[in-house]
């Protein structure tokens, strides 16, 4: 054990150098062909299967599993990808335990669903690792569409539009495409550069131009895009991070969890990423879990995740909560931050316990903290946007916004959960509506 483990403050290399690769390796190692066959054999090929209904992209799960079971994993991959072009990423990051696998009749029968997510990964990996792209672009239509945001929604939309023969230019503010797939997901969920490999594979359809470093409101404007293109799809996600509302939250060491996750993803060597000995993460969603678990994996001695409501209200799935607990993250519920203490940099963070109605109890909790990661939700950024509903761009079922010729989808748009798979579905469906509108 490294003595650095106990060192206070924020420092890199808390673990032995050799430990990092293991810590950040694949959360679920891929199924080998034998494991895939055993898993596939458990599927009952249900009629009008509940797993399909539970999938936001309506993947024909029994069909693709049967295709795996009968020795045609590439056909299985095509079944998946025809509904969800990011089936590879979704296989890795979907909360399957709340979606398809929760609906699996074998979950009802035996409490052990078919391993749908892992089988999906087996099939999509099999195809994509050969570099095969199973779709062909239709004859050019001469129509041009701008897509803002190269995340799951934007890429899904762009691929479908390109497949229909339209020319697509994707604008993204970041230096690399992928959106949250590249910047916002825990390293151990998508190791080995999978996010970029998937983008490269997706781009093989042709007809898509990628413009990175092109941000809405800076390099481009909605008015400009509307003028230059036949249609615009907005899928830029949520760029802002909610504030804690606690005194002293501007102290050093109080950071956005999304930045921590992004930095870790972009780090060439995770051992070089500094981490506090005592880390507190505030929030109850996937981002909070990803930050807390990875803080622990980097060697933080004490990681506490604090959420203002009960466990049952956490957005993170039970699987994610258990994962965090298994890595040694302490989860504290029913506490809200009231003050960040420290002289310049955070030393402690103070919470007040609250009751089920979020009323203060007067009971306080102080936690030592070298770092505090805020993960209490993100907000839409930008002005001159179409009309909002709540804090997101208002869209109808087809993804149409209040502005003619402008569609939106993914986290920046109303409707649906903030999930990768939901974003893919919305991007795809908006593309189909754009297509129908353009070529009618």
């Amino acid at each position: 054990m490294s003595q650095k483990m106990f060192e206070p403050g924020i420092t890199a290399g808390r673990l032995e150098a050799s430990a990092y690769a293991d810590q950040f390796s694949d959360l679920h190692p891929p199924l080998d062909p034998h494991e895939a066959l055993v898993a596939a054999d458990r599927c009952y090929f249900c009629h009008d299967a509940p797993c399909i209904t539970a999938c936001p992209t309506d993947i024909d799960i029994p069909l693709f599993i049967r295709q795996i079971a009968t020795g045609t994993p590439d056909a299985a991959a095509k079944t998946i990808l025809s509904q969800n072009i990011m089936g590879g990423m979704c296989a890795r990051v979907c909360p399957t335990e709340q979606l398809c696998e929760q609906a699996c009749v074998r979950e009802i029968a035996e409490g052990k669903p078919v391993k749908i997510g892992e089988l999906q990964r087996f099939a999509t990996d099999h195809l994509q690792q050969q570099g095969k792209h199973p779709f062909e672009r239709a004859a050019p239509t001469g129509k041009r569409v701008a897509v803002v945001g190269a995340g799951p929604a934007g890429l899904s939309c762009a691929h479908r539009l390109a497949m229909m023969g339209h020319d697509v230019v994707v604008h993204d503010a970041r230096p690399k495409p992928g959106g949250l797939n590249e910047y916002g997901i825990a390293t151990y969920k998508t190791p080995n550069g999978f996010a970029q490999a998937e983008v490269d594979w997706l781009m093989q359809i042709g007809g898509i131009t990628m413009q990175t470093g092109s941000a809405l409101g800076a390099e481009i404007t909605l008015e400009g895009l509307k003028a230059d293109y036949d249609a615009v799809f907005l899928g830029m996600g949520l760029g802002g991070v909610n504030a804690l509302g606690a005194t002293g939250e501007d102290k050093d060491g109080v950071l956005d969890a999304v930045d921590f996750i992004a930095d870790l993803r972009q780090a060439g060597d995770v051992a070089q990423v500094p981490i506090g000995r005592d880390v507190v993460v505030i929030g109850g969603g996937m981002t909070a879990i990803d930050a807390a678990v990875q803080a622990k994996l980097l060697g933080a001695l004490n990681v506490t995740l604090v959420y203002r409501r009960g466990r049952d209200r956490m957005n993170a799935s039970v699987f994610e909560q258990d994962l965090a607990a298994s890595k040694g993250v302490r989860i504290v519920n029913q506490a809200v931050p009231v003050a960040v203490h420290g002289n310049g940099a955070v030393r402690e963070i103070e919470f007040e316990y609250v009751d089920a109605d979020m009323q203060g109890t007067g009971q306080m909790l102080r936690l030592a903290a070298d770092q505090v990661f805020k993960a209490i939700g993100q907000t839409l950024q930008g002005d001159a946007l179409p009309a909002l509903e709540g804090r997101k761009i208002k869209v109808d079922d087809a993804g149409r916004t209040s502005v003619d010729g402008v569609w939106a989808g993914g986290d920046c748009a109303s409707g649906g959960d903030d999930l990768t798979v939901t974003a893919v579905a919305e991007g795809r469906d908006a593309a189909m509506d754009i297509h129908m509108t353009l070529v009618g």
Binding site: L37, V38, Y44, H47, D48, P50, R106, A109
Partner: protein
Amino acid sequence: MADLRSEFVGIKSPNPFWLASAPPTDKEYNVRRAFEAGWGGVVWKTLGIDPAVVNVNGPRYGAIYGADRRLLGLNNIELITDRPLALNLQEIKTVKRDYPDRAMVVSLMVPCEEEPWKYILPLVEETGADGVELNFGCPHGMSERGMGAAVGQVPEYIEMVTRWVKASTRMPVIVKLTPNIADIRKPAEAAQRGGADAVSLINTINSITSVDLDLFAPEPTIDGKGAHGGYCGPAVKPIALNMVAEIARDPGLANMPISGIGGVTTWRDAAEFIALGAGNVQVCTAAMTYGFKIVQEMISGLSEYMDEKGMTSVDQLVRKAVPNVTDWNQLNLNYIAKAKINQDLCISCGRCFAACEDTSHQAIAMDEDRVFSVLDDECVACNLCVNVCPVEDCITMEAMAPGATDPRTGKAVEPHYANWTTHPNNPAATAAE
């Protein structure tokens, strides 16, 4: 615990589970292991006249799988023993000496002439073996040479050879029948005429298990070619049960003892064969799939079942189901059942719905919450939903009480028995009394 001791054509064994003549009984090493595991007896793998046959040096078996590679059917192109006759005889003698309480039957296959039979039988007798089984069944390889199924498919040959054998030995003679024939009763009758003490069935079924779609060759493939083999294992059990029953319920064959063979995998399979008329059973594929230890489950299972039924000896189970095997035209057409789905057990997979809706009678309804229910006014009680349901006892067939109205036909369920022979739609119907 029920007494499983068995006596079959005078041959005693501690239980009715014998290993069939096949690779597991080819040599002393295996048979000793089998007896140590608890098998009641063996039929030693078929002996022939020297020089010994040779086997292929490529794959001898092909398989059919269920889910999770559960072996459902096995095909083989292995021949009779490929070891010298003297070696087999010596080992048979040694093993029988060491396990005097176990049944030791020797399978034989020699050319269809009297001399070879007269030659080999005294040699077998000298080992102390309890009986012989005449292999008139192997459908591959040996049959091309005029032996095995080539004899078994000609009743006259069966009768002739059986008579030769009976004249040359004091040992009980079991005639093993091939299923590759239209009417199994004909060879059984021939064996009876020849003086056989019993018949055993079935031997393996002509089969090609699969085709290599790259080589375009049948499997198992030997250097690019394949030949048909003999099929066995759980998949053949229904065929074997029917053939056993055909013999057992034939008045002329009712006294012919039967050794039941064909896909016996569990105690339950064995009990079914015995209830349909078998005096004992022979097992091969299950042992080849799982090893000799399975006999322990067969022993405990049959014993527990017999205790539950109050049976104190295996004989009390023999032929218990034979009186209920009948012809279709004797089935009661006034018996009316309906499928019933137990909603507590249902896991909402919808397989019953797909099967009924797509391929049967549209008698299952599906509501928005995936609750599946039977439409009694459409259900003909075909049982397909029961068969495709993955949950045991979730769907059952419930008989309607006499007097109740069948919603499908609008008619009351008749209390009396009536079959096709008197049905008005039968042009050949005889008038009901």
